[in-house]
């Protein structure tokens, strides 16, 4: 069986799955719109947690939150299932496919065979859509891929029951209840307000103040941890900022696209100006990544290079603070 499902590529998996599932139901909502209403722009540093032997720095909130906020704010109801074993999970999935209902699944990345080897690591909050089954092969629409792809029954069970932090436990979901017409105006305002609140939060681990904390740490790393570890940490920071899923510049460009769309819907020219401003900030993030990569490319550099990228990050934090203050006033 094969459901007539249109695959659209997106930058980020979570927004992409939501946007694609809604488009299937006839609601035209773009990826940036889902991201903006779900308040996807974020910055957080979690000092006591390590992933890949480096401190956790994230440019997005916890997986699943963007989707939850978006659904709440526009009034869509989502049905979710988790399963104890593979058999039950498989049965439920097939039932939905038979009902001609494409479903979203939360999966682990490590066993996704269609990803390049280098990108397969133990991250359990990836999302994709299953839209059919032919013999023992499932038809997959993974929003970060250019085209649709497939997974065998064994492979799909493996990724649905990946283990470790945030294990999906077969997590399956689909929208069940829609308002007659999606009312985006209020949802957009709410989405923007949450971003401003979070990014301007008065704690040193979140938002612009979190960036300043990291900038200070970058100065200390080479002396305290040695050049090798300092470079590894810096590399991880750049990966979080630029790796598949952010659409470039730590999600700043997707947010720019959202503000531009929002300015039309709310008829607010101020948002269009701010869209240009966040694009410029995104370009600065790209410059930051270029400078950081120069450091870990030539291994033995003078300590001053770390101070320079730290300065850049400081500058970014002040520019962003200005930006969120203006954004807060504009709505």
């Amino acid at each position: 069986m094969k459901i007539n499902f249109a695959h659209h590529q997106s930058a980020h998996c979570e927004n992409g799955v939501v946007s694609n599932l809604l488009k299937h139901k006839g609601y035209q909502v773009s990826e940036p719109m889902v991201f903006g209403i779900g308040s996807g722009l974020f910055f957080v540093y979690i000092p006591f947690l390590k992933v890949n032997y480096a401190p956790v720095i994230s440019f997005r909130p916890m997986p699943g939150i963007i989707f939850k906020r978006f659904a709440n704010r526009v009034g869509i109801k989502i049905k979710r299932f988790k399963f104890q074993n593979e058999k039950k999970a498989e049965k439920a999935l097939e039932l939905e496919l038979k009902r001609n209902n494409p479903v979203g699944l939360q999966v682990g990345v490590y066993n996704l065979t269609y990803f390049p080897d280098e990108y397969r690591f133990h991250f359990n909050a990836h999302n994709l859509v299953v839209y059919g089954k032919e013999k023992d092969t499932y038809l997959i629409s993974d929003p970060v891929m250019e085209t649709t792809t497939t997974l065998t029954k064994k492979e799909l069970n493996r990724v649905r029951f990946a283990k470790g932090a945030m294990s999906p436990k077969g997590h399956m979901y689909y929208p069940i209840d829609f308002p007659k017409e999606l009312k985006l105006e209020k949802a957009i305002v709410k989405g923007i307000k949450t971003v401003c609140r979070d990014m301007l939060a008065p704690v040193p681990y979140v938002g612009v103040r979190g960036m300043r904390t990291i900038a200070k740490l970058i100065r200390k790393w080479p002396k305290k941890k040695g050049v090798k570890i300092a470079n590894h940490y810096l590399g991880q920071l750049v990966r979080m900022q630029e790796e598949i899923g952010t659409g470039g510049g730590g999600f700043r460009f997707i947010y720019g696209a959202f503000l531009q769309e929002a300015s039309v819907i709310l008829n607010n020219t101020k948002l269009k100006e701010l869209s240009i401003e966040i694009t410029e900030i995104g370009d600065l993030w790209r410059d930051f990544a270029v400078d950081a990569s120069r450091i870990y490319k030539n291994r033995s550099v003078e300590l001053d290079a770390y101070n320079k990228v730290a300065d850049k990050l400081m500058e970014l934090s002040y520019k962003e603070e200005e930006f969120y203050k203006k954004l807060k006033k504009s709505i």
């Binding site: 930058a11 891929m145 294990s167 590894h232 750049v238 990966r239 997707i254 720019g256 696209a257 490319k297």
Partner: protein, 134 residues
Amino acid sequence: MKKSEVPQDKSNLESANFRELCYAIDENGNYTTENSSGWNPKTIALDNAIQVIEERIENAKKRVLNNETSPIEYYMEVHKMDLPILASYVGLWKWRVKRHFKPKVFKKLNNRLLQKYADVFDISIEQLKNIEKN
């Protein structure tokens, strides 16, 4: 980022034959999307991370051959896992898995437990016992 500036560098994405989606502005200053085949600063960061993992694997291999640790730790590194992830996959307490890293303890493990590890690593018990057979 302007649409014309979306980087098209060579990267590991090529091996899977796909390009990722980026958001950028066109000549008129409006947002649009463009595919990117890769970006050097990113590739360097990824290569660095892979190198760190490879060093860890090499190190674990040496220690297995010197009888300082069991093959379980070696295969854990090969599969990019750490202790909490491996413990979660085999369904054992972390301290038990850690204990199985001791060559002496590993030698006495029964087949049921060995099979558990072998299944997680997708190999045979023979291969699990002898890393050179991999």
